[in-house]
């Protein structure tokens, strides 16, 4: 196997045993990127020279602890000092932060090496990465299809073996959905588990940083590094982070698995429902107890989400006014014109749509009927999960209603695109952890299984995911990508 095909833990072993150097790994990665990225288009910015320099530093020091010497990619909303951070938007096309996101800093402290910044839907708003101001990313399993979004670049890059792992963010499904579409493992931890400092905000009460990887073990390893309290983020949980890799013993006898009937409705493709049902049988085989449950308010999660998220986004994106950084319309004659024209020219349609939706939901006369109502419904959704988790350890469901759709297919009707999130959004509304792991294929396109856990119980998700993964071989399958 080529170096670029290996998992993080495989690379760790090779480095520790001095079989390869970090420089060789980084060179292998960039050779791969050079070969496939003009097809996949996962990267916005590449940092090859810096990466090679860092690799050489690690090799010279000769210490290979943790993820030292291992390359990674970051969704382009993680602030990286000295490196362009665009958020997939014309508004920040030239923005270079002087401060670092905490998640990145923790990886850097362990001498993880940044290979580049990954494409995304503009300001994390979208489910296909087609909303990027720059270009669309393609699904490595079928280059005419979307990789999902908004962390499309992050998922595609891992799927195409361009980086061994990446970080993304998930507000309504933006890690799990692309992971599902691209056949990789994507984990969104509990809200508050990973610091949001230095992560350009979309919806503050929903955004969460997560990991996209080739297998469950890698995911657990990286999550342990980036998770944990950060004094710079008031919403970050002051809780210890368990060693997630230590939970991976494959023993899930007696594990109580619930599957919610509402997630298996007519809106979900039959092939996907079948794959999940097969996975549930596998769980029973492995000794788990599987039962159907109801999350009665499920159908209300998406409409509530499309009020809460845009409302928060409308405030979070108001700072993009051309004054202190970012794009500015220099022709504007006065300040008001500068604001409106900067924001008209700097933002794409989907961003404008959501800002206006959110502004409307908060505006005088509509606040109670829309925003406040949505927050109340949010509590009902969270309560549904709490009730189920009294008697169960994890919830299993499909991640997406369909497999990856064709590029260009869903533009035109915003609601159709929003429906992609219907199975992932409830988890963000409740603030719970959720993972997507490959569990089959439909006509050559990956299917993802979603595993939802109790608050701060990522460990059980990892455990359950690992047990399933090791009893199948989906995690070893790779897209052909039309290259040898």
């Amino acid at each position: 196997m080529e170096l670029f095909e290996l998992t993080v833990h495989a690379l760790q072993q090779k480095l520790a045993s001095r079989q390869v150097s970090s420089e060789e790994i980084v060179k292998s990665i960039f050779a791969r990127i050079n070969k496939v990225d003009d097809k996949v288009k996962a990267f916005i910015t590449l940092t090859e020279e810096d990466a090679l320099n860092k690799a050489r530093e690690v090799d010279n020091a000769g210490q290979y602890k943790g993820i030292a010497g291992i390359p990674l990619g970051l969704k382009d909303l993680f602030c990286t000092p000295g490196v362009n951070t665009t958020c997939g938007s014309k508004m920040l096309a030239d923005f270079v932060p002087t401060y670092a996101s905490t998640a990145f800093r923790r990886l850097e402290e362990q001498q993880g090496i940044l290979a580049g910044k990954l494409n995304m839907d503009e300001f994390a708003m979208g489910s296909s990465t087609e909303n990027s101001s720059f270009f669309a990313t393609c699904n490595p399993w079928d280059l005419t299809r979307v990789p999902g979004g908004s962390s499309g670049g992050s998922a595609a890059a891992v799927s195409a073996d361009e980086v061994p792992f990446s970080l993304g963010t998930d507000t309504g499904g933006s890690i799990r959905q692309p992971a599902s579409f691209c056949g990789v493992v994507g984990m969104k931890p509990t809200y508050g588990r990973v610091s949001r400092w230095g992560v350009i905000a979309f919806a503050s009460s929903l955004d969460q940083v997560g990991v996209i990887s080739k297998d469950v073990y890698d995911n657990a390893l990286i999550m342990k590094i980036i998770a944990g309290h950060d004094h710079l983020d008031s919403t970050s949980a002051a809780l210890d982070v368990p060693d997630y890799t230590a939970c991976l013993d494959g023993d899930i006898k007696g594990l109580r698995v619930a599957y919610p009937q509402e997630y298996f409705g007519s809106g979900v493709d039959a092939a996907i429902k079948d794959a999940i049902k097969k996975a549930l049988l596998k769980y029973e085989e492995l000794g788990a107890i599987v039962e159907e449950v109801s999350l009665p308010h499920s159908e209300y999660a998406l409409p509530a989400y499309y009020l809460v998220a845009p409302a928060e986004a409308s405030a979070n994106l108001a700072r993009f006014d051309g004054v202190r950084y970012g794009y500015r319309d220099n022709e504007a004659e006065n300040m008001e014109a500068m604001f409106s024209q900067t924001r008209c020219q700097g933002f794409g349609d989907e961003v404008k749509r959501r800002i206006m939706l959110g502004t409307y939901a908060l505006s005088s006369g509509y606040y109670d009927a829309y925003y406040l109502k949505a927050l109340k419904v949010r509590r009902l959704i969270a309560d549904d999960f709490t009730r189920v988790f009294k008697d169960f350890d994890i919830i299993v469901a499909p991640t997406t209603p369909t497999t990856a759709f064709k590029l260009g297919k869903q533009s035109g009707d915003p609601l159709t695109l929003y429906m992609n999130d219907i199975l992932t959004v409830p988890v963000n509304m409740a603030g719970l952890p959720g993972m997507s792991i490959p569990c089959g294929f439909d006509q050559g396109m990956p299917i993802g299984m979603q595993i939802i856990g109790k608050a701060f119980d990522e460990a059980t998700i990892y455990k359950a995911a690992y047990a399933y993964e090791q009893s199948t071989n989906f995690h070893t399958m790779k897209p052909a990508l039309g290259v040898e």
Binding site: F95, I200, L232, S234, T235, V323, R324, L362, S363
Partner: protein, 483 residues
């Protein structure tokens, strides 16, 4: 004011809190720094940043609530107040909307001998905005410059009930509020520096009417005097408009200090839709009874308490007590003197008299002057032990004020030691008597003025340094012994 109408006033006061750092980041709050040298990505609203609340701000807010007799609910939260302006980098201000930290308080004021209670509706925490600098007037400037140093400085907004009925009451409320905030140690309340700001809400209604009239808000009040004048002007404007059958517009107006009138602040959207919603980046605040109690226990002495103490324990007249407790610095100075010198009234006389005169003349606060409590006490003791006379002490105090030197040094260097040696004085007295026989005759025939002449001559001959009490005694003695 008009006999038929009453004016209704409510005041909204913003006080900058005395913290070292800003409310949501660790930038310094020091006044007077070069533009944009006290900003960071957080207070400058950069992408990806998050606020973290400064605990001291909450401590000071609770302190203020206690000083203003407020209820402190056991839970409160922050909200985003959304509006666009270049001095507001996030395009929202983090403030408190429906669950402020303090509610339902009051302040008692004294106006023309009457005591009146003014309700305080709420006190809440929020962050300040930056500063916009125009090239000349806001309407003619070709561009503006933004300085964000002030952005993020913690503010308390204190909203009164519309309980005031005259400009005098409004002023009394502001003066009392300012004193409370100073004594509570929460703000340095300098209106000229902007650490205390006041907006007035004014309306009028026919006497007897229950409904409030149309309200206008007046901004840009930079002194208590401006507050009084603006309220009087605005109330008169309202009454005139009503009498003339005009409809009053609910609007924001600015006080023009130069022209002594209010002007409408032209703006496209009069009613801002702030679209308040709970701040998701900050957690709710639970204010426990223990926390409030611990602040109450450490509460500094407030002016009314101090006045009571000065009157009851030290026998000072109420008037003195009020003057001495106008500022915490003044009270502290007085108390410090009292530790080393037991005569409270003497200290008070000098502080209210000569010392205050010097401070006013030089436009200084007591804390800014070079005179120390120890210095003043030394000066008083020098009078007591006869080293200097009361009159000379005035000169000594002026020197202390100007140079910061202690009385001992000044007395020595200027040779101001009082002449109290009987021998020396008698020699002088005998001399003056001998050379003025006619005046002696005048004195003997009952002309009191003659005595003053002699005394004056002695003082002249000694450049005012003769001990006046002793001079009087010796002179009288000598004159009475002449046949």
């Amino acid at each position: 004011m008009s006999k038929d109408y009453e004016v209704v006033i409510g005041l909204e006061v913003h006080a900058e809190l005395k913290t070292q750092t800003k409310i949501f980041c660790s930038c310094s709050t020091a006044f007077g720094a070069e533009p944009n040298t006290q900003t960071c990505p957080i207070c400058a609203g950069f992408p990806g940043v998050l606020p973290v609340l400064n605990k001291k701000v909450v401590d000071l807010a609770i302190t203020t609530g206690l000083a203003l007799n407020c209820e402190i609910p056991n839970i409160c939260k922050f909200d985003r107040k959304n509006y666009f302006y270049p001095d507001s980098p996030k395009a929202y201000q983090i403030s408190q909307f429906d669950m402020p930290i303090c509610i339902n308080g009051y302040l008692d004021i004294d106006v023309e001998g009457r005591r009146k209670r003014i309700g305080i509706n709420r006190v809440h925490m929020e962050e300040d905005a930056g500063k916009l600098v125009h090239q000349g007037d806001i309407t003619t400037t070709p561009f503006s410059l933004v300085d964000l140093n002030r952005c993020g400085i913690p503010l308390l907004e204190i909203v009164s009930e519309p309980d005031m009925r005259s400009a005098q009451e409004a002023r009394a409320y502001m003066e009392k509020l300012r004193a409370m905030l100073l004594f509570a140690g929460v703000s340095d309340c300098k209106m000229q520096e902007g650490s205390l700001r006041c907006d007035a809400n004014v309306s009028v209604r026919p006497i007897g009417q229950v409904e409030f009239g149309t309200r206008t808000e007046i901004k840009n009040l930079n002194s208590f005097r401006a507050l009084e004048r603006a309220i009087e002007y605005e109330a008169a404007r309202h009454i005139e408009a009503i009498k003339g059958g005009e409809t009053l517009v609910q609007e924001t107006r600015t006080w023009d200090e130069e022209k002594q009138l209010t002007r409408s602040m032209r703006s496209k959207e009069e009613a801002h839709d702030y679209r308040y919603f709970p701040e998701p980046d900050l957690l709710p605040l639970k204010i426990s009874q223990e926390w409030v109690n611990s602040i109450r226990a450490a509460f500094p002495e407030m002016p009314e308490q101090a006045q009571k103490r000065l009157v009851e324990e030290y026998g000072l007249p109420e008037y003195d007590a009020q003057i001495l407790t106008l500022t915490p610095d003044s009270l502290a100075f007085f108390d410090q003197c009292l530790k080393q010198y037991p005569d409270a009234k003497t200290i008070s006389n000098w502080m209210m008299g000569e010392f205050n005169r010097l401070l006013n003349q030089n436009n200084m606060e007591i804390g800014e002057s070079k005179v120390t409590a120890a210095g003043l006490v030394q000066m008083l003791k020098s009078i007591d032990d006869g080293t200097i006379s009361g009159k000379m002490a005035k000169m000594v105090l002026e020197e202390m004020f100007a140079t910061g030197n202690c009385p001992e040094v000044i007395i020595r260097e200027k040779g101001l030691v009082q002449i109290s040696d009987e021998g020396t004085l008698l020699t002088l007295i005998d001399d003056i008597i001998k050379t003025n026989p006619k005046v002696v005759e005048d004195y003997k025939s009952g002309k009191e003025k003659a005595f003053g002449f002699f005394a004056g001559q002695i003082m002249k001959a000694t450049q005012g340094q003769a001990n006046p009490t002793l001079v009087n005694k010796l002179l009288k003695d000598r004159l009475n012994h002449i046949q």
